[in-house]
């Protein structure tokens, strides 16, 4: 289960309305490498993870991703809450505005709706952890792209924080992958599925 803590993990305090920036940052909400995909990826994979410490790590990182999703949504909300229809039109936010006004709806920067096909839960520990390592790097690249095109320091601060967290998550998933390998036959890690062919996993 989950409980809620009534604060953001890192402060979000944006003064200037900017639907254009919101339409880019939204990718980290509902885009291919966004926080919604990240949290659902880890929270889905954890059930069948053969090593319970790694199931625990997936729970903790998946939970932190939910807190990141909340920060991203707070950024978009603050960038658009005082939006006028004229600003929406001038900034290319009008198509989104027609369907969602200034509410939050998970989509990619190019307008593609959130799609569960952006994440995998394959039921093989090595496959899934390799996916997770790639996912953290893809999210980091997306943050780097955002940091290059956005210049409002109020928006950059939380994005820089979130980028750093992707690096830390990558490190932790790397350690988890090493741990799984240690419980397998070092002569051929990739021959078995440690989640399914349990007889080959050392106790």
């Amino acid at each position: 289960m989950w409980t809620y803590e009534k604060r953001l993990q890192f402060p979000v305090r944006i003064s200037k309305t900017c639907p254009k920036t919101a339409s880019l940052v939204i990718s980290q909400f509902g885009g291919p490498d966004g926080e919604l995909a990240a949290s659902m990826r880890y929270l889905s994979q954890r059930y069948t993870m053969p090593c319970k410490e790694i199931g625990g790590l997936l729970t903790d990182i998946g939970t932190e991703e939910l807190a990141h999703l909340e920060m991203i949504c707070a950024i978009i909300y603050q960038l658009t809450k005082d939006l006028t229809p004229e600003q929406a039109k001038a900034d290319g936010f009008d198509a989104y505005y027609i369907d969602h006004t200034s509410a939050l709806w998970p989509a990619a920067a190019a307008g593609v709706p959130f799609n569960a096909c952006e994440l995998q839960s394959k039921g093989d520990a090595i496959t899934d952890l390799t996916e997770d390592l790639a996912a953290e790097q893809k999210a980091r690249t997306t943050y780097d792209n955002l940091l290059r095109v956005i210049d409002d320091p109020d928006v950059l601060a939380p994005l820089q924080f979130l980028r750093q967290r992707e690096v830390v998550h990558f490190q932790r998933f790397g350690e988890a992958l090493e741990k799984i390998k240690n419980s397998l036959d070092a002569k051929n890690f990739y021959y078995y599925n440690p989640e399914f062919d349990k007889q080959f996993v050392k106790a």
């Binding site: 009534k6 402060p11 410490e53 320091p153 950059l156």
Partner: protein, 106 residues
């Protein structure tokens, strides 16, 4: 500590330190120094959350203490009070107590 801003800064810093250390301990469960540090800061966080709820509003369900808000004769539900996390005002503490938190740069 008397003002909301300083309190929130302490809660945010302690909370984040523990978020990060928790992930480290997930993959280094026998690191004795990290375990001791975790225990120390977890205790600090519990105290901060409890004191904040007594002065202002609860941030977690475990800190809801209606008896500390309003008069004894007229208790009220405090969980819905205080700033909404995603509102700009909820992060005002950072501008006052930790301006370098909220000003990013290229």
């Amino acid at each position: 500590m008397s003002d909301r801003n300083t309190w929130m800064k302490e809660i945010a810093e302690t909370g984040f330190f523990l978020d990060d250390l928790k992930l480290y301990l997930d993959t280094h469960p026998l690191d004795q120094d990290a375990l001791n540090t975790f225990a120390e800061y977890a205790k600090k966080r519990r105290t901060l959350l409890k004191e904040y709820a007594e002065h202002f509003e609860p941030l977690t369900c475990d800190c809801i203490c209606p008896e500390n808000n309003g008069s004894a004769a007229q208790k009220h539900w405090t969980w819905c009070g205080g700033p909404i996390p995603w509102d700009r005002e909820a992060s005002d503490w950072a501008a006052a107590a930790a301006p370098n938190f909220v000003k990013g740069g290229q």
